[in-house]
Amino acid sequence: MQFCVVTYPGSNCDRDCYHVIGEVLGEPVRYLRHWAEHVPRGTSCVVLPGGFSYGDYLRPGAIAARMPVTGAIEDFAAGGGLVLGICNGFQILCEAGLLPGSLIVNDHLAFSCLPVHVRVEGDPSPFTHSLKQGEVLRMPIAHRDGNYRPPSDGAQPQVALRYCSPAGELGEDYNPNGSQYSTAAITNERGNVMGMMPHPERCAESILGGEDGMRVLQSAVDWWKEVGSYGI
């Protein structure tokens, strides 16, 4: 299953995602540079990594969302390709309109780098395909703007992961950034585009304290093998 990791000039988790997909997940992976105008043929999944794509001085992800490569990713997603935005990647997908809503500054206003627990929700998606509803994963977050706000028209997004206690309970105490309904990850209606604030690539090897991140990436691979594409 061919992966592409997008590198905007200020992406800083691009090399981490590349390492985990190539060396840990063992799938073919290549970089997609920010000046690219097309997603290469044969690509199954595009990953938008974390970082500060253009310094994020305006709004996180705002400038990256308007670069040609992001338009190419939009076309790719419309054609049924899998797209995973992690942290800044999630912010870019919201800014680009590939996912509904937006991510604003954390309710406590500070950057937070720490492990959190997330619960798998019911809405189907390739990225949670191999996970059971209600299952709890432990993954790190590292962001200042991860406070999810749904669109103002009142539409509710499809939630893939919610912040929770180690036992899977929801509550303010377990919500690290004030996200509405403890939202940690959402998908588009079709399920092929997911944005998540936690970093799966940071918990894909036991030496770094956990392997739960692999479950998300492996899900996408399993789905691809079992279900295949969205029939295009």
Binding site: L58, R59, A62, I63, R66, C94, E95, G101, S102, I104, V105, N106, D107, H108, L109, N147, R149, P151, S152, G178
Partner: protein, 92 residues
């Protein structure tokens, strides 16, 4: 040589009513805590001052509106308005 004539426009971006504003809430609390009990609410916004050469204010205003819609403003969260700060007048 003719001197460059320009217009200076200010775009003020604010949060839509009802959108959570953690920065504003924190500043409201802080002001109240240090004795400004009369403060009801503070909301935080941002402004951009944009210098554009030309004399035709209407055209420039339309151009700035386009900038807002294509980059400066996130319509999910934010409202904006445009003010003329200066001009048309010579630069420098």
């Amino acid at each position: 040589m003719e001197r460059l004539i320009f217009v200076l426009m200010r775009v003020v971006v604010t949060l839509k009513p009802g959108v959570q504003d953690p920065e504003g809430a924190t500043i409201t609390d802080s002001l109240q805590r240090i004795g400004f009990a009369s403060v009801n609410r503070v909301t935080v916004g941002r402004h951009f001052d944009i210098e554009i050469p030309g004399r035709d204010e209407d055209r420039i205003r339309r151009e700035v509106e386009k900038m807002c819609e294509s980059l400066l403003v996130n319509p999910v969260l934010q409202d904006y308005h445009i003010e003329r700060i200066q001009g048309p007048q010579p630069a420098g």
